[in-house]
C-alpha cells in the first residue's frame, strides 16, 4: 500500500527533525495506516472504540512515553507530539484515548501520587492492561472548574465522595478514575477504583462527534474511598489539574496538525481527479486553488508553531501560555480546514467514504475540550497583560 507522504511544503520533516524523530513518526504512521484508517469509519458509525487499539498502542510504546522507570520509552516531548499527530490523522478519538492515558492519568499519578500508587497503576497502564480517566469537568462547570459541586468529606475510614462528572473520555472502560473534589480545605485529587460502592460510569450515547471514543459520566453517591485514595501531591486548588491539562493541550495542538494533513490530502486528491466543467479538474479553478493554498499555508504554520513549542518544552522553557496559543490556533484551523475540505468535496464530503466530514465533527469537540477556544484567548490575554479576564 502506498504510504501517506504528506505535503511537507517547507521540508520541515527533512530539515527540522532528527532521524529518531522521523522513525517515531514513521512507526506510528505505519500502524495508523494499517490498523486504524481501514476500520475507523466503521467504528465511528458503530459508536465504538476498538479495545484492541489500546493493546496495540501499548505494544507500539505510545503509552507512558517518558516513564522510563516503569517501562515507558525515553521519548522527548517532540517525539510525543509526533505520536499524537499521527494518531489524530487517524481519528481524534484515538488520540484522545492516548492523551487521557498519558497526560491526564499517568502524568498526575507520577507527579502527585505516592510510590505505592505509582507502582500499583503505572506498569499496567504502560502495558495497556489498565485504563484510567480524568474527572474534572461537571455537568454545570466546564470552563470554570473552580465552581465544581463534587464534594469530598473527611470521614473516619477515608473520604466520602458525592457529585457528578461529565464528558469523561474512557470513563466506562476505566479501572481507575482520577476525580477532583472540594474538601474542607479546597480542591484535591482522588483515585477512585472501578467497583467501589457508590461509583458508576455510564456511557454517553447520541454523540455526533468523537464517536470512535468512549465518553462517560462519573457518578459518585456516598462513595467511600480509603485514606490512601488521595493523591497527596495535588496541592489544594486547581494547580494540579490545570498542570495536567496543559500537558494534554500540548498533545492536542500536535494532533490538530494530523487532522489538517488528512483533510489536505483528501481535498487535494479529490480536486485533482474530479472533472466537472469543460473536462478540466476542479483544481484548475481559481477558487479551488485559493482554498488549497490557504489549507497548505495554515498547516505549515501550525506545524512550525507546535514544533517550536515542543522544542521549548524539551528545553524546559515552554509555559502554559505558549501551549494555549498552539492549542487554540491549531484546533481552530483544523476545524476550519476540515470544513473547507468537506465543502470542496461537495456532496461526497458528507459520506463516510471520505474522512474530512468525520474529522470536522471530531474537531468540534477538540476545539471545545481541554480549555475551550475562548478560554485560551483569555489565558494568553492574562499572560500578555497581567490582567485576568476570566469572569
Amino acid at each position: 500500500m502506498a504510504r501517506f507522504k504528506g505535503a511537507d511544503f517547507l521540508s520541515i520533516m527533512e530539515t527540522q527533525f532528527t532521524e529518531e524523530e522521523r522513525m517515531v513518526r514513521d512507526s506510528v504512521r505505519e500502524w495508523v495506516e494499517d490498523r486504524v484508517i481501514p476500520v475507523v469509519d466503521r467504528c465511528y458509525q458503530e459508536d465504538r472504540f476498538p479495545l484492541e487499539w489500546k493493546d496495540e498502542l501499548a505494544k507500539l510504546g505510545a503509552l507512558g512515553p517518558g516513564l522510563v522507570e516503569y517501562g515507558g520509552g525515553d521519548l522527548s516531548h517532540v517525539c510525543r507530539g509526533l505520536i499524537y499527530r499521527e494518531l489524530e490523522r487517524g481519528d481524534s478519538g484515538l488520540r484522545s484515548f492516548a492523551s487521557v492515558m498519558n497526560s491526564l492519568v499517568m502524568f498526575p499519578i507520577r507527579a502527585y501520587g505516592t510510590k505505592a500508587q505509582q507502582d500499583r497503576w503505572l506498569p499496567g497502564m504502560i502495558r495497556g492492561e489498565k485504563v484510567g480517566c480524568f474527572g474534572l469537568t461537571e455537568p454545570d462547570f466546564g470552563s470554570n472548574p473552580g465552581g465544581m459541586l463534587t464534594r469530598a468529606e473527611k470521614v473516619k475510614d477515608g473520604w466520602l465522595l458525592n457529585g457528578t462528572k461529565r464528558w469523561i473520555t474512557n470513563g466506562t472502560i476505566s479501572d481507575v478514575a482520577i476525580v477532583f473534589a472540594k474538601t474542607a480545605e479546597g480542591i484535591r485529587g482522588f483515585l477512585v477504583e472501578k467497583g467501589t460502592p457508590g461509583f458508576s460510569a455510564p456511557v454517553i450515547r447520541q454523540k455526533w462527534s468523537l464517536r470512535a471514543s468512549i465518553t462517560s459520566e462519573l457518578i459518585l453517591e456516598d462513595c467511600l474511598v480509603p485514606e490512601d485514595a488521595l493523591l497527596p501531591g495535588t496541592s489544594i486548588g486547581l494547580k494540579a489539574p490545570l498542570t495536567c491539562l496543559s500537558e494534554a493541550r500540548y498533545g492536542i495542538a500536535w494532533g490538530a496538525v494530523g487532522v489538517m494533513e488528512a483533510c489536505y490530502e483528501e481535498a487535494f486528491d479529490y480536486v485533482m481527479t474530479r472533472r466537472q466543467f469543460e473536462d478540466k479538474p476542479l483544481a484548475s479553478h481559481q477558487l479551488v486553488q485559493q482554498r488549497l493554498s490557504t489549507i497548505l499555508t495554515e498547516t505549515v504554520k501550525a506545524e512550525l508553531l507546535v514544533l517550536q513549542v515542543g522544542r521549548l518544552k524539551d528545553l524546559g522553557l515552554a509555559n502554559h501560555a505558549h501551549i494555549s496559543m498552539a492549542k487554540r490556533n491549531n484546533c481552530e484551523w483544523a476545524l476550519d480546514i476540515a470544513r473547507t475540505a468537506r465543502d470542496m468535496l461537495g456532496a461526497s464530503g458528507i459520506t463516510y467514504e471520505y474522512r474530512c466530514g468525520r474529522h470536522m465533527m471530531n474537531m468540534e469537540s477538540v476545539k471545545t475540550y481541554e480549555g475551550a477556544h475562548d478560554v485560551h484567548h483569555l489565558i494568553l490575554g492574562d499572560y500578555i497583560t497581567g490582567i485576568p479576564a476570566y469572569s
Binding site: A2, R3, D26, S27, W31, G61, P65, G73, D74, C79
Partner: protein
Amino acid sequence: MKILTLLKRVPDTAAKIRVAGDGKRIDPAGVEFVINPYDEIALEQALRVKEAGGGHSVAVLCLGTKDATKEIRTALAMGADEGILLIDGAGERDAAASAAALAAALSEVKPDLILCGWKAVDTDDGAVPHLLAARLGLPCVTLVTKFVLDGTALTLHREVEGAEEVVSVKLPAVVSVQKGLAEPRYTSLKGIMMAKKKTIAEKPGAAAEPKVRILALEPPPERKAGRIVGTGPEAVPALVKALSEEQKLI
C-alpha cells in the same frame, strides 16, 4: 547462538520507479527506500528466536551504500543487537559479486545461522542465498514458511509445488524465508530510542567482478486505454465480435 540476518535496501514496493539517464539503473530521486520485505520477515524470525530465551544474539549485515544506515538503524530499533554495513564501492554488482562480498565478511563473523529473504524485491534474482551458501560451504534451505528450533536442532518447513516439505538442517546454515513465516512487527518507540546506543560497524565490501551485467533497463510499454464498444444488450454483438475476431479470445 549467533544469528545473522542479511538486509538489502530496496525501493518501497509502492514507489513510482523511473529509469535514470544512463538507461541502466533506476533514478533514486524521490524514491522511498525500505528493508527488503522478505529480509524483514527473516529479521522478525531471528528476533522471535532471541526473545524466546536461550541467550541468542541477532546481528544484521547489509551490503550497500552509506544511505543503508537508515535501514540498519530500523533493524536495530526492531530489536537486532548490532549492525554491520559493508560499504559498496561504485562497481556494478550482480548476485555473484554480492555473494562474494557477503561471504568474505561472514567468514570473519562466523554466525551459527544466516537468515535472509528468499529474494530481494528490487532485482527479483533470488540467487544470493544459494551462491552465498556455496561460497561458505554451508547447507542452504530456501523458501522456509515454518521455523522450529529445539535446542540446536532446527526443523524447517518449506514450500514446494503442491506440497510442504519438512527438513532438518545442521548448523551453521543459510536459511532463506518466504512470506507467511512471521509477520514483521511495528518498530516500537522504545526500540527506536534504544537503537541510538547500538553500534553499526562499517567495513569495505570486498570487490568482485560481476558475471552478469545490465545492458539496459526499460519501463514496460504503456498500456493502451480501454475501448467501450457500447452499452446495454444491444452492444453484445459488437462485444462478441471484438472478443472473437479482433482479440481471438473466444
